[in-house]
């Protein structure tokens, strides 16, 4: 057994009301935090001199399907000054799949959060540019959800499998459209003006 992590202890002291769970397994520290406290907790992680997690390495999500709450959004943090890592999770229910954006704390969260929206359909409140990032316009649904129908296709060109463009092809995209970038998705918010 590894000794209790000082980072986790410090977090438990400061955020006892908001931390649901902490876990330390073979040197990997994990904190599960309440969704309401996510932003203040993240800001603390970046700004507190004991913490100073200055680098957001990754944001992703997990769909547990049968669990309640159904989703977990996972943040991986790194402190370059202290050479430490921390995993922060927050749980999101199926009937209100939304988290607040951390782009105000780490700018690099922008594209990660778009991916979370695109793949899992978890809305990111306050995100400056919430569009799909990997899938194309005309794609419906969020393919990494565990209940996504596995043989569902959204063809973009008429093909032998989908010969009738009128009927089968959701929207035929021109190559130039791809380069220009596409319109905003539902749930997107206008970027704030500086």
């Amino acid at each position: 057994m590894s000794p209790a992590s000082s980072v986790l202890e410090h977090i438990r002291e400061r955020f006892s009301d908001h931390v649901l769970e902490t876990l330390s397994f073979r040197g990997d520290d994990t904190v599960v935090v309440k969704r309401d406290a996510l932003l203040s907790f993240m800001r603390f992680l970046r700004d507190d001199p004991e913490m100073s997690f200055d680098f957001l390495m990754d944001v992703t999500a997990v769909d547990w399907l049968e669990r309640e709450p159904r989703y977990e959004v996972v943040y991986h943090l790194y402190s370059s000054g202290k050479n430490r890592r921390l995993r922060v999770k927050t749980r999101v229910p199926d009937d209100d799949p939304e988290v607040e954006t951390v782009t105000g704390i780490w700018k690099g969260a922008n594209w990660f959060e778009r991916e979370v929206w695109d793949m899992y359909g978890i809305r990111v409140k306050g995100h400056p540019d919430l569009r799909r990032i990997l899938m194309y316009d005309g794609f419906e649904g969020h393919p990494l959800r565990k209940d996504y129908q596995k043989d569902l296709r959204h063809p973009t060109v008429p093909s032998l499998d989908f010969p009738d463009p009128e009927k089968d092809v959701r929207r035929v995209i021109k190559a130039t459209d791809l380069m220009r970038g596409s319109g905003r998705e539902e749930g997107a918010q206008e970027p704030e003006k500086d």
Binding site: M135, Y136, F139, P143, Y148, K150, L152, R153, H154, P155, T156, V157, P158, S159, L160, D161, P163, D164, V172, I173, K174, A175, D177, L178
Partner: protein, 174 residues
Amino acid sequence: MAKNDSSDGLGSPILLTRFEKVLSWARKYSLWPLPFGTACCAIEFMAVVGTHYDISRYGWEVVRFSPRQADLLIVAGTVNYKIAPALKTIYEQMLEPKWVIAMGACATCGGFYNNYSVVQGVDRFIPVDVYVPGCPPKPESLIDGMMMIKEMIEKGEPRARESWEEKWKERYEK
């Protein structure tokens, strides 16, 4: 010998076939490939163009990234629904006569990806003349595939493009 009754003296059908032969001889030694590289197959393609395998032995080394200047489209890698319109546009922009090689498992049938994003073979939406198996194929395999194209040109074999409409109609009417 057919009767020659044209005034320019070139109306004989024998002359015409010879012209075709000369043309195909020139064509088969000067294929300009366009690599549509989206995955590891493209790395193998680089090896084929490189000095060790050296396709310039056959006169095929002039790799063109403009569809207007290429006669052989090599689809090397996974093609998903997002990029498919781009590939179709590139194919349509190529000038006749044109040939297509589907290189590797992904381009021929989707490979091990059968999911929401990957087209199950580029022959679903563009006609393919030669399929090269492998994941990725060895450089020798691709050269073998190109040799088949060369043979097709030499013998004047019909391209997949010519029976493509039929195939489409058949599928559509089903």
